[in-house]
Symmetry: C2
Subunit: 406 residues, 2 copies
Amino acid sequence: MAGVVATNTTLTRPTSVAAHPVSAQAGGLSGRPLTARAAEVVALVRDRAGDALAVIGSGGVMDVDDALALSDAGADLVQVYTGLVYGGPALVRRIAAEPRRGPARGPLGRRGRRERRGGRVRHFGLRLQEATDRLGTLCVGVDPHPPLLAEWGLPDDADGLARFADACVEAFAGQVAVVKPQSAFFERHGSRGVAVLERLLADLRGTGTLSLLDVKRGDIGSTMQAYADAYLRDDAPLAADAITVSPFLGAGSLAPALDLARATGRGVFVLALTSNAEGPGVQHAVPAGGGSVAGDVVATVAARNAGLDGVPARPGDVGLVVGATVGDAVQRLGLDLAASGAPLLAPGLGAQGATVDDLAGVFGAAAHLVLPTSSRDLLRHGPTPGPLREAGQALAARCSAALRHP
Amino acid sequence: MAGVVATNTTLTRPTSVAAHPVSAQAGGLSGRPLTARAAEVVALVRDRAGDALAVIGSGGVMDVDDALALSDAGADLVQVYTGLVYGGPALVRRIAAEPRRGPARGPLGRRGRRERRGGRVRHFGLRLQEATDRLGTLCVGVDPHPPLLAEWGLPDDADGLARFADACVEAFAGQVAVVKPQSAFFERHGSRGVAVLERLLADLRGTGTLSLLDVKRGDIGSTMQAYADAYLRDDAPLAADAITVSPFLGAGSLAPALDLARATGRGVFVLALTSNAEGPGVQHAVPAGGGSVAGDVVATVAARNAGLDGVPARPGDVGLVVGATVGDAVQRLGLDLAASGAPLLAPGLGAQGATVDDLAGVFGAAAHLVLPTSSRDLLRHGPTPGPLREAGQALAARCSAALRHP
């Protein structure tokens, strides 16, 4: 045997097609619903095959980025089928025009390929879009706070944390689009807690699940660079697919993180409007140039995303944190979230009082960019992975329905 | 032998008396210059003696807090000499009126006594005052950034960090008032880096040197509580004497940290005006009630410090971060820093362009509350501990002279 062609069609029914009549039919799907899964399978095959076999990537290649994704996942050649039907021969020409890159061989696995130096990185916005298309528009927060540990029958120590993290991986990895560990709860247990976080991030990476580490870091100069290095570098022990950052020292001071994230295909979510009562005192305040502090954050993020040379319809790489409980603040402050292209991480569902139905009202024309996040309300279904997973999937479907087809 | 009386006089010449003619004379000093040292010696004696001996604390007991400090350090009884000369019999009455507390026996050491549950904690502002009186008004930043590690001939990994931290402890512990590790540079190396930070904090604690961990955390609700737990609890692996926090989610959201710090005798420094060019866009912005974001932070901190039932002349427990490079911003924004009672952590000396002579101008009537911090400019004297220490002591003396006797 000289090689493997992967893949053909998929039997899964991603959330993006759940509302379509075709999804109720039996049989395999081609085209877009297959894209992300094809890249996963190619990566898996390449990891097992090493250099011994040629791998031909196929499945859901609808545009140049999809072809590059398969190449980055380890394919030696890329096939087009459905994309050729809809895109015509021009698609082949566009793909062939990409600079030729040899496949990155060796034991790096999917992540190493995706982010390798010199290779083209797959931007975070694209990866996020694929994940939410496939698994629904939901970010699950991993917040092992003491009462929850107790509720799950776990000790409030690093071992308890580790068992909590394992249960979350079992329940959510590969099942929801994004998993968001809250760093504070790991820092509580010092370096042993941080070691658990490290392993959790590695486990999510190993299963191809996007991680968004909630750290809300913010500093200046070489210290901000150090925070970026800590979480956004390929070789960082705590590398995540994305992090949250805090702009109290000015959104411009976050540049080292935004630059590094761009270079490594990662995402950064900047706090803009938070879901707590004390937030507006800072976030609605009026800077010298008028507008609002939150407005300046949105403008900085929008400028970053406008610089992307990709498809404008997809979410950018730099996101915003906008609470689901901010009511009409987005309108009152005149924030054009849709134009920012920013994925919008929206905490506040459940425990903080916002409902899925509130989301469309708060975000209006930007609803398609919203990534709602829920933690406590989901985690109370644990510790058994089954009910956790079901609750996550059900909520993801509800969020997708509310945001994608409002 | 039934017990030990400690101490008598001190041969040291704390910075607070360096400018006084008496400091050039030979012989031991009594009174205030002895206070902090006496508590250290009492703690040392108690740690060695365990429950086998009675310990009578003596030396520099000028007020009630000093007596309590000796009691907390492990003294069974407290003697007054010089304090009686200046304070008269009323001092004895005030000390005796304090609720009687049995000494906390056992192998807890100084820290365990100081912060033990049920006992009265010694407030951070008081501990800071003592440290700066004794060792000069300077905070040394421990910023092991990659170029500096290279300059010191150390690898950019956890082992390099550990050797860097050890050199800083050897150079600065017990020699300067406050040591400020910058968390980002430890987080860069994941849980192994955080383990080095843990050990650095423990080493500083063991030598009675105040640690101020620069983490700039900020969040809401139970997440903010988790950050407080991580750094301000007695039993936290990463417990520091004080931390920095960031108020982008509103100064009010920081309450869990301020509350816990008060309860455990620790300090919290809230970002107000930072030393970077991008800071004013947020920090000078005008909230709905007028003034400025920084002004609201100062007001929150002032209200906290006003609630202290201690001596108003000493620094409060809740500090502010105000860059030494902010020029006339303090005046322009109408911030009454002196009235806030907040210790003022002032970064920006050296590398960022501020000089010791700038300090009095920037801070005016609040100069006595300023704790200047220097990192890169000092650390370039390493890696040999001797020159590092000398540079630190020289800068501390210059800062004390500029701020205490402007």
